[in-house]
Symmetry: C2
Subunit: 330 residues, 2 copies
């Protein structure tokens, strides 16, 4: 099934069930008011939500059904309790390091990189990316993400797969020129990772039959900047740590709360044969080839679109479609 | 006024108003069901909560009033959206580096260290500290923390002070032996910072007249391990970055949501004349003096108590009183 959160004057939005084609939706307050409430009690809510989904797809003429495009769609969990982003496509990390003549530690292939992200700074698929200063080096990062139920501390990678309840794609907005100083301090990203935006809908694993296996999503992720395709690497290829391994890493010393969102990191394929999922990688390839980067980071007014289509060419999660805008302090 | 969250079978607990002596409390569902709900709408809820607080202190005989010690107290916001921990007592960082013969970068005195913590892994003042392996190097860190309302991106340090609505103390549980590998990866703490526990109550700044000024809390913070005082450094001394500066740092590129919790980092005074707020610092002092550390990290069964008294010797926030316990996977 497919779910979304739509704006309703509250901070957490209204949970809605969305049809397979991502065109129609219906609110389900009698099952759960919010996405968080649904995942808090997933065993009870999931079958009920599935019933609504099935009848919605059967062209239900219920008067409560509305056109989803007529609503403001929020992030699936507009404010979440835990957002952990891995860096599972190690080939991307290797490339970035190669461009600055730094070696990749061998452990990066066996011990996942993961940082704690800003779970209170989630924005919707069509929200502007508001940044104060273009000189901060505005970039997108296209990723796959999963949402878990409660995960006990010490859960192993195989068992962790059973805790994946929802799957989507996201844009991890990154301010590249703020990164070097933050990484040098060793305390992780903070100012350099302001906003994270999500596709309109999240889907259950059963919705991805044949393309979701071994904790990976085996489909290309398309990133388009100002109408030009930047890349469509396959998210199922070169993912060194699957989502089960990423969850197990996050839960090694503590439990994870229901509604935890785990990101894959920037999707990338070895050698970047079908392009990249962020401008930093494009620039690194230019540096390695020509000695300098010629592609600039994003400017105010730039438009980024991120989407994943199924094998028949239908958008699975709906489209992330955002414009970068100068931030004006209110 | 003083507020707390008590266990009520829900994930977020029940907001209660607590009297000044931290002995009596009353639930206030008609004002706000949870601490998060209160801070979400602070302008409206704060005056109402204050009225309840005033009548509670006036020895109200309301039958709804109960003995707070008879209840399970949770973290003030049992699951929060944002937990950012600074490292404002730079003298502590300097000492830790000195013990391993590493220089302190000059920028550490002007640019705050801050990491994103696990806001979904908050525990109550009397909850066990569950850890799987003693060899991970179990330590406490005693800190001061503030809770903000909504903070717009780009807020300056002075204006940031107005966003501080609640103040408390906390224990940032740290697994010392997992830190070196995590810091080497530059992505910040993750497995090495599992749980954070809080004192029973949070208080409004007006409750701290004469000791809360310039964004600092000017009182000693007492840490006692197995009945032995480890330290009582003054939280108002050697705090290089006040809470206004820490909030401004966190909000440089993005807004902070209401209910954001900002920590001071381990409280420490130059030269540690009244002891330390964590065992790592005790061990560093031993290394600098004797060439090796003799104080061990915490073991299963160890009891840590953290408290802050006012100038008359009364506990302001109630006591953090926890025992370290071997984690058994459920």
């Amino acid at each position: 099934m497919k779910l979304a959160s739509i704006f309703n004057e509250t901070r957490d939005g209204q949970l809605v069930v969305v049809n397979k084609a991502v065109t129609k939706a219906v609110a389900v307050p009698e099952i759960a008011a919010t996405m968080q409430a649904a995942i808090d009690n997933w065993k009870e809510t999931a079958p009920k939500l599935k019933n609504v989904y099935d009848s919605l797809n059967a062209n239900s003429s219920d008067s409560a059904v509305f056109d989803i495009s007529s609503k403001v769609v929020m992030a699936p969990i507009p404010r979440a309790y835990h957002w952990a982003d891995g860096s599972a496509y190690v080939t991307h990390v290797e490339l970035v390091r190669k461009a600055r003549n730094a070696a990749l530690p061998e452990t990066f292939w066996t011990d996942p990189l993961m940082y704690m992200g800003a779970s209170d700074a989630f924005i919707g698929p069509n929200d502007d990316i508001e940044v104060e200063n273009e000189a901060w080096g505005i970039d997108f990062e296209s990723e796959v993400a999963v949402i878990t139920d409660d995960v006990p501390a010490g859960t192993d990678a195989k068992s962790a797969l059973d805790h994946i309840k929802l799957i989507t794609i996201l844009n991890d907005v990154t301010l590249r020129n703020l990164i070097p100083d933050e990484l040098a301090k060793q305390f992780g990203f903070y100012q350099s990772k302001p906003w994270t935006s999500f596709a309109p809908v999240v889907v259950t694993p059963d919705e991805l039959e044949g393309v979701w296996s071994d904790g990976k999503l085996h489909l290309p992720l398309r990133s388009t900047l100002n109408g030009k395709l930047i890349g469509s690497p396959d998210a199922g290829v070169d993912m060194v740590f699957d989502f089960g391994q990423l969850i197990a890493h996050a839960a090694k010393t503590r439990s994870l709360i229901a509604g935890t969102i785990i990101g894959s990191g920037t999707v990338a394929n070895q050698g970047s044969p079908t392009g990249s999922s962020c401008l930093a990688e494009v620039r690194c390839l230019e540096i390695i080839k020509d000695g300098k980067a010629t592609t600039p980071f994003m400017s105010f007014g730039d438009r980024i679109e991120i989407e994943m289509n199924d094998k028949e060419g239908h958008s699975i999660f709906g489209k992330i479609d955002q414009v970068v805008k100068a931030y004006q302090k209110k």
